[in-house]
C-alpha cells in the first residue's frame, strides 16, 4: 500500500534528522501518478503518463537555523543521506528569529470522497474513447467546426507528513478534468468556444455535454465585430469568475503579500469592500471543492475559514502556514501547500475557495443586462496593482455582446484593466449553480461595470 510506504518513509526521515542534531524536523513524502491525453486539430497529439514522487525534509537547529531538501526518490536507503544533507544545509544557514516552531499535533480525520477508485484506475484507452466522443460531437454540431482541441486528465496523489513534535498525517486524492476548445471557421473568420469540467470522479465527466457547449459558443463566435472601449455591464461564466477569485486568493488572502504590505486586504480590514452578497469561504473538507484534503502540507487539519463574509474582509481572512504565522505570533491556519506540486509552491494560499451561491440563473443575468458583454473565459490575467486589486486580462473563447436582454452578436476579444474592489462592489445578480474551477468553486455573476481598455485586433 502506498500510504503505508510513505508513512514509514516520513517517520524514518524525521527520526534520522533529529538524530543528526536537529531539534525539530519535518518530513513529507509524496507519490503522484499523472496521466493526460491532449488533443488538437481533432486528433490526439500528446499522450503522457508519469510517476513522480519524493521526500522533503526540513531540519531546524536549536538556534533556529533551517535547511530544506527535496529529492525525487522514495528509496528508504536514501533517507539517511538526505537527512544528513538537510542538516548540513541548516548548519550553513543563519537563524530565523521569526520561526516559532513546527505545528503541534491536532486530531484529524480522513475525508470521505476524496479518492475515487475509477479515477485512479483510468486507462489511456478510456481517455482516448472520451476524447473521440468529444471530437465527433463537436464536428457533428456544424459543418463550420474546423478543429477540436483540449485535454482529458486523471491524477492520483498520495501524501504523508510527520514532524518531531508528533504530527503524523496522510491523505490521498484523485482529480480528473477535461477541457474542450472548439474552433470554427466561416469565410475566413474563426470562432472559438471552450468548456471545462473538474471533478474527483472521472465518471462525472460528460465529453458530449462539454463538446456541445464549446461547439455552440464556437459556431456563434465567428465573424466577431469590434465594439467601443469603455465600461460595460458583464455577465461572467464560472470559468471567468474562477480565474478572478483565484487571483484574489493569491494577491490578497495569502500571509506573504499581507505581511509585505501588498495585499488589498490590509487596507480594507472590516470594511464593506465587496457587495454584501459576496461570501467566500475556504473549506477543504467540503465535497464541493476540487482539491479535497483533510490536512495541509504540514499536517495541520484543514478547517472552515471565511475569506469574504457578506462582502467584508478581516484579519481572519488571511491564510498562514507555520513559518508565516510565527512571524505574527499566530498559529498556522492550515494553508501550507503540500509539496506535491511540480515546483514546490512555498506560499500559503487558499486552494479550496467556495463562493456561496445566489439565486439567479445565467439566462436571467443576460435578460437583466441592457448593454453588456458575456464572458466565457479570461486569459492571461495578472495583477497590475495588488493593493487596489487591479487586474488585467483578456476575454477569450466565447465573447458576446448583450443588448436589451439578449445575446446579439460575437465580439472581438477585449482587454479589461480594472480594480476588482470596484468591479465586485456591486453584484446585482449572483448565480445559484456552483461549478468547480480548479481551486475555486464558483457561480456565474453579473457585474454592473467592468472597464475595457483594449481590443485584440490589428
Amino acid at each position: 500500500m502506498v500510504i503505508e510506504r510513505l508513512t514509514e518513509i516520513v517517520e524514518k526521515a524525521v527520526s534520522a534528522t533529529t538524530n543528526l542534531g536537529a531539534n525539530q524536523a519535518q518530513a513529507s513524502a509524496f507519490l503522484l501518478e499523472n496521466a493526460l491525453t491532449r488533443y488538437a486539430n481533432s486528433q490526439i497529439h500528446q499522450n503522457v503518463v508519469s510517476k513522480n514522487g519524493g521526500i522533503v525534509i526540513k531540519a531546524f537547529l536549536p538556534d533556529k537555523r533551517m535547511g530544506t531538501l527535496r529529492a525525487n526518490t522514495l528509496e528508504e536507503s536514501e533517507i539517511e543521506r538526505l537527512a544528513e544533507k538537510a542538516v548540513k544545509i541548516a548548519k550553513s544557514a543563519r537563524p530565523d528569529e521569526g520561526f516559532k516552531g513546527l505545528p503541534e499535533p491536532e486530531p484529524w480525520a480522513p475525508v470521505e470522497g476524496a479518492f475515487v477508485k475509477e479515477t485512479a484506475s483510468c486507462t489511456p484507452e478510456y481517455r482516448a474513447a472520451r476524447v473521440k466522443e468529444a471530437i465527433e460531437t463537436a464536428h457533428n454540431k456544424s459543418s463550420i467546426v474546423k478543429a477540436v482541441a483540449g485535454y482529458f486528465s486523471s491524477n492520483t496523489m498520495y501524501f504523508a507528513v510527520a514532524n518531531s513534535l508528533g504530527v503524523f498525517a496522510h491523505a490521498r486524492l484523485t482529480t480528473a478534468s477535461m477541457k474542450t476548445t472548439v474552433i470554427s471557421e466561416s469565410e475566413g473568420s474563426e470562432g472559438f468556444g471552450t468548456a471545462e469540467k473538474y471533478t474527483r470522479n472521472i465518471k462525472e465527466i460528460d465529453p458530449i455535454l462539454l463538446a456541445e457547449d464549446a461547439a455552440d459558443k464556437s459556431v456563434r463566435s465567428v465573424k466577431p465585430t469590434k465594439i467601443q472601449l469603455g465600461n460595460y455591464e458583464v455577465v461572467l461564466s464560472p470559468l471567468a469568475v474562477g480565474t478572478i477569485l483565484s487571483y484574489l486568493g493569491y494577491i490578497g488572502f495569502s500571509a506573504i503579500p499581507y505581511q509585505n504590505g501588498s495585499s488589498f486586504v490590509k487596507y480594507f480590514l472590516n470594511k464593506q469592500v465587496f457587495d454584501e452578497k459576496l461570501t467566500v469561504k475556504d473549506d477543504a473538507r467540503d465535497p464541493r471543492t476540487f482539491y479535497m484534503t483533510p490536512i495541509d502540507g504540514e499536517g495541520v487539519p484543514k478547517k472552515l475559514k471565511f475569506l469574504i463574509k457578506n462582502g467584508i474582509v478581516s484579519e481572519e481572512s488571511i491564510c498562514y502556514d507555520s513559518l508565516r504565522a510565527g512571524k505574527e505570533n499566530k498559529k498556522s491556519t492550515g494553508h501550507s501547500v503540500p509539496p506535491i506540486t511540480r515546483w514546490f509552491y512555498d506560499m500559503p494560499v487558499p486552494f479550496n475557495m467556495i463562493m456561496e451561491p445566489g439565486d439567479s440563473r445565467i439566462e436571467e443575468m443576460i435578460e437583466e443586462t441592457k448593454h453588456g458583454i458575456f464572458v466565457t473565459y479570461f486569459h492571461y490575467v495578472n495583477p497590475v496593482e495588488p493593493t487596489k486589486a487591479i487586474l488585467t486580462g483578456l476575454t477569450r473563447d466565447g465573447t458576446f455582446l448583450i443588448e436589451n436582454g439578449e445575446i446579439t452578436k460575437p465580439i472581438v476579444n477585449m482587454r479589461f484593466t480594472d480594480s476588482m474592489l470596484s468591479a465586485l462592489k456591486n453584484i446585482p445578480l449572483l448565480g445559484k449553480n456552483q461549478e468547480m474551477v480548479k481551486g475555486t468553486t464558483v457561480t456565474p455573476i453579473k457585474l454592473n461595470k467592468l472597464r475595457f481598455v483594449g481590443i485584440s485586433s490589428y
Binding site: 499523472n34 493526460l36 488533443y39 488538437a40 486528433q43 490526439i44 497529439h45 499522450n47 503522457v48 503518463v49 508519469s50 510517476k51 513522480n52 533551517m66 530544506t68 531538501l69 527535496r70 529529492a71 525525487n72 526518490t73 522514495l74 544545509i89 550553513s92 544557514a93 543563519r94 530565523d96 528569529e97 489511456p124 482516448a128 474513447a129 473521440k132 482541441a149 483540449g150 486528465s153 477541457k179 474542450t180 476548445t181 474552433i183 471552450t194 509585505n260 504590505g261 501588498s262 511540480r342 514546490f344 512555498d346 492571461y380 495578472n382 497590475v384 496593482e385 495588488p386 487591479i390 488585467t392 483578456l394 476579444n413 482587454r415 484593466t417 483594449g454 481590443i455 485584440s456 490589428y458
Partner: protein, 481 residues
C-alpha cells in the same frame, strides 16, 4: 550505465512495434536561496531525477516517465509508452513524420569558470545577507526586502532509435534583489537587475559575482523610496523607450511565443492559445519596422537558453524569426518542421525535467542590436517616456494585444530625462508596436535570463534567454491606471 539502459529501452520499444523511440535520463540539482527581512526565507536544495520514453507506434506518439531509474522500471515504462501510443493512434488523421536531422554521438558542457555548486552555502548567504541589509536600511517604509540566488545544474542523457547518443551538463546561476515599500497606503516595488528574482546566465558562479548585489543594493532602495514622490504616469500617446530589463519580456511575449510553430499549428489552442503568425504569413508578413531583426539562437554564449543539443538530439541552431521586419521563421520541432517542410527543426524542443514531454520552447530569442547608443536614443527624443524593469504583464491568446507595467519610468523632454514617474503602464498591438520601432541600441546590448517561462499541459517551466539593449517605439499609449 545510462548508455546500456537506454539501448535496452530502445530495443524493447522497437521490438514492441515502435517505428521511432527516444529516451532521456536526467538529474537536476537546484539550489534556491532567499533572504528576506534579515532572515533566511528559503535555503533549499531540490533534486529531480528520472527518465522519459517517447515512442511512435502506428504513426502516433506515446510518452511515459518514472523516477525509478532501473532496468525493471524501464521495461514497464516502455510498455506504457507503447500502449499509450496505440491509444493515441485511435484518433489520428495522419502519421507523425519527423524532419531529417544530423545524427550525432557527442558530449556538451556549459563552459564555466567557477562551479556554483563548489562555492559554499555560507559564502553565497553572506552576500545575500549583506545586500539585503543594505537594501532594507534605506528606509523604514521598506516592508519587505529580498535577495535571491539560484544555481541550477541538469545532467541529461539522450538516445534515440536513429543512433543519436548525447550527454550534456547544463549549468546556470544568477540572482537579484527586490524590495517592496509602503507609504500612506501606496505600494511601490523595485528590483535589480531585473524582475523574477534577478538575472540568470549559463555560466559559472562568476556570473552571480558580476551582478554585484551588495554594491547595487543601496541605489535600488533609494530609487524605490523616490517613487513615492514621483508623478503618476500620464495617460497619453507618446514615444516610448524601453530598457533591456523590460524589452526582454516584450520580446518574449510578443515575438517569442507567437513564433512557436506548435502554437501556429493549433496544438496549444486549448491552453496557451494560437498565434496570429499563421503559416501562410511566413515570408510575407510585415511584423515590424526594417530595424527589427530577431533570431532564435541556442548557440549564443551565456544565454540562459543556450545548450549543445535540444531534447530531440538536434544540434543547437541559430535561425532568423524576423529579418528586417519581415516574418521569416518559426521555432520548431522535428515533427512541426516536417509538417511545414522547413528543412529541419530549429532545435527548439526542451522539457523541464526528464519526467516531462519535450515541447517547443524558446531558446534565446534575441533582438539584434542597432547602431545607436542608449543615451543617443534619449537625446533624440523630443517628448516621451522611458520605462524600466517589468512589474506586470499580459497578452492575448493570439499574441496581438498586450499590456505591460514597469516599476519605474521617466518623462523625456527635449532629449533629456526629466522627472521620475510611477506606476507606468503601456498597451499595444504587436505588429503596430514593432512597426513603430525606430531606434535600437548596441552599447548596452546584453543577454537577459528569464527562468520562469510557463507553457503546456501539464504545465512546464523553462529557462530562456533574450538578448537586447534599449529600443524606442513611436506613438504608444501609456498610463492605463
Amino acid at each position: 550505465m545510462f548508455s546500456e539502459l537506454g539501448r535496452l529501452a530502445l530495443e524493447e520499444a522497437m521490438k514492441q512495434g515502435a517505428s521511432y523511440a527516444d529516451i532521456r535520463i536526467g538529474e537536476i540539482e537546484n539550489e534556491i536561496l532567499t533572504v528576506k527581512n534579515g532572515a533566511p526565507e528559503e535555503v533549499k536544495f531540490l533534486q529531480t531525477k528520472g527518465f522519459g520514453v517517447r515512442a511512435i507506434v502506428n504513426g502516433a506518439w506515446g510518452f511515459a516517465a518514472s523516477i525509478d531509474i532501473n532496468e525493471k522500471e524501464m521495461g514497464q515504462v516502455v510498455e506504457k509508452a507503447i500502449s499509450i501510443a496505440k491509444a493515441s493512434s485511435m484518433l489520428k488523421k495522419k502519421n507523425v513524420q519527423l524532419s531529417q536531422e544530423e545524427i550525432r554521438q557527442d558530449k556538451y558542457e556549459t563552459p564555466i569558470k567557477k562551479d556554483p555548486f563548489e562555492v559554499s552555502l555560507e559564502e553565497k548567504l553572506n552576500i545575500l545577507f549583506e545586500a539585503e541589509r543594505l537594501l532594507a536600511e534605506q528606509s523604514p517604509s521598506i516592508k519587505a526586502s529580498y535577495s535571491y540566488y539560484q544555481g541550477f545544474r541538469e545532467k541529461k542523457f539522450f538516445m534515440n532509435s536513429e543512433g543519436a547518443e548525447i550527454s550534456q551538463v547544463i549549468t546556470w546561476c544568477g540572482g537579484g534583489l527586490m524590495a517592496i515599500a509602503v507609504k500612506s497606503g501606496e505600494m511601490q516595488v523595485r528590483s535589480y537587475p531585473a524582475s523574477f528574482r534577478g538575472d540568470f546566465s549559463t555560466a559559472g558562479y562568476e556570473f552571480f559575482e558580476s551582478l554585484a548585489l551588495v554594491e547595487n543594493a543601496k541605489k535600488v532602495g533609494q530609487e524605490l523610496i523616490k517613487l513615492f514622490d514621483a508623478e503618476k504616469c500620464p495617460s497619453m500617446t507618446t514615444d516610448l523607450i524601453l530598457t533591456g530589463n523590460q524589452l526582454a519580456l516584450q520580446i518574449h511575449e510578443s515575438c517569442g511565443h507567437p513564433t512557436e510553430l506548435d502554437r501556429a499549428l493549433g496544438t496549444e489552442a486549448d491552453y496557451a492559445g494560437t498565434s496570429f503568425l499563421t503559416p501562410e504569413k511566413l515570408g510575407k508578413f510585415r511584423y515590424g519596422s526594417k530595424h527589427v531583426n530577431i533570431v532564435a539562437d541556442a548557440t549564443v554564449p551565456r544565454g540562459l537558453g543556450t545548450f549543445g543539443y535540444d531534447d530531440e538530439g538536434t544540434p543547437a541552431k541559430k535561425v532568423y524569426l524576423i529579418k528586417e521586419g519581415l516574418f521569416v521563421g518559426y521555432q520548431s520541432s522535428r515533427e512541426t518542421a516536417a509538417e511545414l517542410n522547413l528543412g529541419g527543426s530549429s532545435s527548439g524542443m526542451r522539457a523541464d525535467s526528464p519526467l516531462s514531454l519535450p515541447l517547443i520552447r524558446m531558446t534565446n530569442i534575441n533582438l539584434l542590436p542597432g547602431d545607436w547608443k542608449a543615451e543617443e536614443i534619449v537625446e533624440d527624443t523630443k517628448d516621451g517616456v522611458l520605462m524600466m524593469t517589468n512589474r506586470s504583464w499580459s497578452i492575448d491568446d493570439k499574441r496581438i494585444n498586450f499590456q505591460f507595467g514597469t516599476e519605474i519610468g521617466w518623462r523625456i523632454k527635449n532629449g533629456s530625462l526629466e522627472n521620475m514617474i510611477k506606476n507606468p503602464t503601456y498597451i499595444g498591438v504587436t505588429p503596430q508596436f514593432w512597426g513603430s520601432c525606430d531606434a535600437l541600441s548596441k552599447d548596452d546590448w546584453k543577454m537577459w535570463g528569464i527562468p520562469n517561462c510557463g507553457k503546456g499541459v501539464p504545465g512546464q517551466v523553462m529557462y530562456v534567454g533574450h538578448g537586447c539593449g534599449t529600443a524606442r517605439f513611436k506613438n504608444v499609449r501609456v498610463g492605463l491606471i
